[in-house]
């Protein structure tokens, strides 16, 4: 990730910090954890998606293990969430925005890096989504929740759209900072629209809203 344009790098680092903060905060709310658990879950949320991608494309050690700023920002976000966990409840708006930035940038970078390493279009799309949602999915699994990506409002779809735009841009030779930012902006817009309108992707026929209007799974009881 060291050769990224400065703006994309800045957004990538912002996303890492936002995921660390948001991931740790989610963990604090869901289960009783000590400081190590909270910071660890923040780091896993922030770094998990990129690590899975790098393992699968053969970029070892993972990029986030090579540049110390990723570790520092992920841990810093987690620590901040631990210290200010009571007050962060009021900051839900900004945190959702930061989280959407992370999702958007991670999806674009993930798809782009997969193509750089010679993978095909299908895997590049999948790895774009995995980079965006992988960390949060590991966190949710560890704390016993059905992963958000599987049950909540539009989350994987905007990441998939961003990965798709990125792949098309690279294949047609127009990829660059503007295209990357454009793809991320589209993802961000869909995601925020989903948050505000509480939109959901289609559900299986005959198992619609009447079965579970809140869109929540059994794990939410806890």
């Amino acid at each position: 990730m060291g050769t990224q344009p400065p703006l994309l790098l800045a957004l990538d680092l912002t996303g890492t910090f936002a995921f660390g903060l948001n991931g740790a905060l989610t963990a604090v709310r869901a289960v009783q954890l000590d400081v190590v658990g909270v910071v660890a879950l923040g780091m896993i949320t922030a770094l998990g998606g990129g690590v899975i991608r790098d393992v699968l494309i053969g970029s070892i050690p993972p990029a986030t293990f090579v540049d110390w700023r990723y570790f520092a920002l992920a841990a810093g976000g987690g620590l901040l969430a631990f210290v200010f966990s009571r007050h962060l409840d009021r900051l839900e708006g900004p945190i959702t925005v930061l989280d959407a930035i992370g999702l958007s940038v991670f999806a674009v970078i993930g798809a782009s890096k997969a193509l750089t390493y010679g993978l095909g279009i299908g895997p590049a799309l999948a790895l774009g989504v995995v980079t965006g949602v992988g960390g949060g999915t590991i966190r949710d699994t560890l704390i016993g929740r059905i992963p958000s990506v599987l049950r909540s409002d539009l989350y994987a779809i905007p990441a998939l759209v961003a990965a798709g735009i990125t792949v098309v841009a690279i294949q047609t030779g127009v990829y660059g900072l503007p295209a990357a930012l454009g793809a991320a902006a589209v993802c961000f817009a869909i995601r925020m629209l989903g948050v505000h309108l509480e939109l959901n992707a289609p559900r299986p026929p005959g198992r619609g809203p009447e079965a579970d209007p809140s869109g929540s799974g059994p794990a939410d009881r806890e």
Copy 2:
């Protein structure tokens, strides 16, 4: 996997499709998911075991990321399960058969590939089982269920037997398409026998059927 005999390749692709279908259907039944979640869980079920195996033996990128047919069949199976989820309940018999085919072929291919990459007998046996049961185990963990392989009727044992026959055949120089099909057939037969007779492997002494006659874990309550 590109150098496999055509029949083994056909079975491998059949197993991938069956796992995609079956994995997605299991997910649809267990939790409220949208189309992205269902297809994603189908793909994870179909591709997960092979991906773990390839990461551990150093075959990067994973074979299923290189040949687009695996992605297409896994996603197609998942999509089919989403669209026809109500009607697939009636097709439980055929789905169980397809799932057993996938388990059998994956166990043979997993053990064989591990030996090809220079691993020892113990790891080859383990990776045969992991290839067969890994994807379903990740899916179950993500949706909050105790993995089937840990609690239900004979599932890991037939895979272990198939991996064992494969390893013996390779070590004695008689491995080829007939041996591979024979190993898969034995696995298939044990698995189907287990399904029909509801057999289970031995449980710890003093914690037998009276404690939990259904063989189900706490997660089944949900």
Copy 3:
């Protein structure tokens, strides 16, 4: 791991056996499992942390897949736990001690190996902890429990301290068998102190003991 000093190798193998035994025993208590499930969870507990570390640093195939003694000891520990699961309840003291030995040695070896493979200090600390707690975390996730490392008494912190001492010793050129044993001994002492005094790391402000005096999460209900 083949070039370790004999004493460190002996401790490493002891830790593997202890983790196999302890991991399988934890699984037997938590859910109804057959012999395959118990042994599999023992092996996952014993080998999981080292496998994740080796995948992330690019040591493929993982060290525990190359030296058959790791597989044999992990499986043997799991099998022993299965056979004697009723009587092992009385052996909780010795098992806790063996588990602490495993944690200590794994943390030292994990941090040391990460530095050997050229990783920085932050990742080396993280991988020391992951080597120590990774296997148990996968096991807990598979059986539907919040991982011990996230909720119980001091577990990750002693591993982090041992990894820290190891990193400092290597950076200052004084690393060797005495330093490795010293780092492991400090980890062991903190861990056993935590067990006896039921100490916990700090929790988030305002969510202290009154909220959940037992330090247990929702998963403990099962």
